[in-house]
């Protein structure tokens, strides 16, 4: 008679395969959802294109997001600001008509938030803008996006699409630029 663990391992093979298949399936399903239904570029009530505004027409970011250099939040422009231009420009396009219908009803436009930091994070646009951090550093190449897409900054400094901001990303940038107290927890947390 002989003894070895190999035959027993062979007997376990179907079970092992099942486990592997299930695990792979879970990962695959999770990944597929993340890749194809990321929810990081939601449809907006009006198909506003940053590519046209910021890219082709080279309107500066701060023209609409006036708050960014003054306040923690960048803010979205009021409806009147959009209308200010579009009373004249491209008035016949369907999206502009849609805008005008909001204006006519004096209703705000319910833009869907894309870059949404958790409640416990204190982020101030003002300090970053004043430190001359480019908007694109965090928001990615906005001027090329028709629809805004969640973008963060990878460790190597490149824009990382569909990936939410994580603490390590803020931290590495703060470290690189030797921000004063840049790694102190209370600088970014509240």
């Amino acid at each position: 008679m002989n003894v070895s663990i190999v035959p027993s391992l062979k007997k376990l093979r179907p079970v092992a395969m099942l486990v592997i298949v299930v695990l792979l399936g879970l990962v695959l399903g999770y990944w597929a959802n993340a890749a194809f239904l990321p929810g990081t570029s939601p449809e907006q009530p009006i198909a506003f294109s940053h590519r046209i505004h910021a890219g082709e027409n080279e309107i500066p970011c701060m023209y609409c997001h006036t708050q960014a250099r003054l306040s923690p939040s960048a803010g979205v422009p009021s409806v009147s600001k959009c209308v200010g231009c579009h009373l004249e420009i491209a008035t016949e396009r369907p999206q502009i008509r849609r805008l005008m219908s909001y204006w006519d009803n004096q209703e705000p436009i319910p833009w869907v938030k894309v870059h949404d930091l958790p409640d416990f994070v204190h982020f101030t646009h003002k300090r970053h803008v004043l430190a001359e951090v480019e908007c694109q550093t965090c928001h990615g190449p906005v001027e090329t996006m028709d629809r805004i897409r969640l973008t963060s900054r990878a460790a190597d400094g490149t824009a990382q699409a569909n990936h939410p901001w994580e603490m390590g990303q803020c931290l590495s940038c703060h470290r690189e630029n030797e921000v004063e107290n840049g790694t102190d927890c209370w600088t970014c947390h509240k």
């Binding site: 003894v3 027993s8 994580e166």
Partner: protein
């Protein structure tokens, strides 16, 4: 020393152990279902409720921020102390009476630790982030704070669980091999893998012996450090009545004390219900009784010292703490503890008491009730009455806490019941070592079928 077992042969023990694993009666399933059901109902259900609601489901408050969860945690850690520690000590001192009981004692260690580790999850406010207390690379670049006594705990308990698991497993390899040959189907597969292809060659025995000895040498100081560290969770604070130098030895002695009592309980159950009457004998109870007696006296002594130093300090904080313990809200529990842990064990001065099974069982349970009370009182009488009298309060456990406490015993029982069906709960080869070697030419019944 082996007077009662020398009329038994190798095959007897072999058959008995294999039978205890393979032959399963309905009683076992009823017991398992009861224990499992109770675990589900009393442990997991209230715990999930607490996860949903928050720790507020328990009775903790300000300033009594710790409660029975931590008391139970210490209790289970304490219970874990005797098994492996005692086994290691007895292994190194080559005490042969250890051999029939140590496997289940070690199992007790292991499962106590599992329950204790679960209690950590029950205790913390946000167990879904408990991994932050483990050192692993993460995008936040944030690692645990290794200055914290709680981190000592994390490291010590992880090491202790790992060590105990390995120790019990290593000692079981030859027995897995023995059971492997008598089983078929999934059991055979399982035991083949568990035994790693053990054959019992002289080389294997030699390596096992040394590895086992080194493990024992490593685990003894580990076990002592584990409960010292648990005590430092308290003693490193500046809470009156907790900030005590004697706490580490106090906890270690208390742990071994309650653990040894726990072994007596487990011995009794194994002996009575698993059919090991022939291997677990009066001798074991007698020896454990002596050990318990010594530990009880030691424990009493440390308690007295603790009271004395607090009283002698003369500060209002310590004085009030002692007063509250002795005569305050929880005074009945305190005196219950003294009765159970210091007075009742004196019965064991009598040899007749030590060698009677049922009284020893009752006493061992009584001691553990007392020891649980001790842990509860350490928390419940000190934290709510610290330095600022205006902030004083009272902590009373809630129904959820009591239920989880009961459930934890069921969880332990469930694990143990599963254990006895997988592990040979008495170490065959070591019992065999205590027997006379078979005589030349004696005929043994054929066992197993040759390939």
């Amino acid at each position: 020393m082996v007077a009662e077992t020398n009329n038994l042969g190798y095959t007897d023990i072999h058959e008995d152990v294999v039978r205890s694993i393979v032959k399963t009666g309905p009683k076992y399933y009823i017991a398992l279902a009861t224990a499992g059901g109770t675990t589900l109902l009393c442990f997991f259900f209230p715990w999930f409720y607490q996860l949903y609601y928050g720790i507020g489901a328990a009775g903790m408050n300000h300033p009594g921020v710790w409660g029975t969860y931590l008391a139970s945690f210490i209790f289970w850690i304490g219970l874990s102390h005797s098994g492996t520690l005692l086994s290691c000590v007895l292994h190194l001192t080559n005490s042969s009476w250890r051999k029939a009981m140590y496997r289940s004692a070690e199992a007790m260690t292991l499962f106590s630790l599992v329950v204790a580790a679960t209690y950590v999850m029950v205790h913390v406010g946000r167990p879904w982030f408990i991994h932050w207390a483990l050192p692993y690379p993460n995008q936040m670049e944030l690692w645990p704070n290794f200055r914290s006594p709680l981190m000592f705990d994390v490291m010590a308990i992880t090491t202790y669980i790992t060590g105990s698991t390995i120790f019990i497993y290593m000692g079981s390899i030859p027995d897995f091999a023995a059971v492997r040959d008598r089983t078929s189907g999934w059991r055979n597969t399982m035991y083949t893998l568990l035994s790693l292809g053990w054959r019992g060659t002289d080389k294997e025995w030699h390596r096992l012996h040394w590895a086992y000895t080194f493990l024992a040498v490593l685990i003894i100081p580990l076990a002592v450090s584990v409960h010292s560290i648990v005590s430092w969770d308290f003693a490193m604070s500046i809470v009156p009545a907790l900030h005590q130098t004697i706490f580490a030895p106090y906890f270690v002695v208390g742990a071994i004390y309650s653990g040894t009592a726990g072994i007596v309980t487990v011995m009794f159950v194994l002996r009575k219900y698993m059919g090991f009457e022939r291997y677990i004998t009066k001798l074991h109870f007698d020896n454990l009784g002596k050990l318990l007696l010594v530990l009880s006296l030691l424990w009493t002594y440390i308690n007295a010292v603790e009271l004395f130093t607090s009283w002698y300090s003369g500060t209002s904080e310590e004085y009030e703490a002692v007063g509250f313990k002795l005569f305050g809200f929880y005074a009945p529990l305190y005196w219950e503890m003294i009765l159970f842990c210091a007075v009742a064990p004196l019965l064991m001065f009598s040899t007749r008491f030590r060698t009677s099974f049922m009284p020893m069982l009752i006493l061992s349970i009584v001691i553990n009730i007392g020891m649980y009370t001790e842990r509860f009182l350490i928390i419940a009488t000190s934290l709510p009455r610290q330095y600022l009298p205006d902030a004083w309060g009272v902590y009373v456990p809630s129904a959820v806490e009591v239920s989880i406490m009961v459930g934890s015993f069921a969880l332990f029982t469930t694990l143990f019941l599963v254990f006895v069906k997988i592990f040979p709960s008495v170490s065959m080869y070591e019992v065999k070592e205590t027997m006379a070697t078979p005589k030349l030419g004696s005929v043994a019944p054929a066992s197993g079928s040759p390939a």
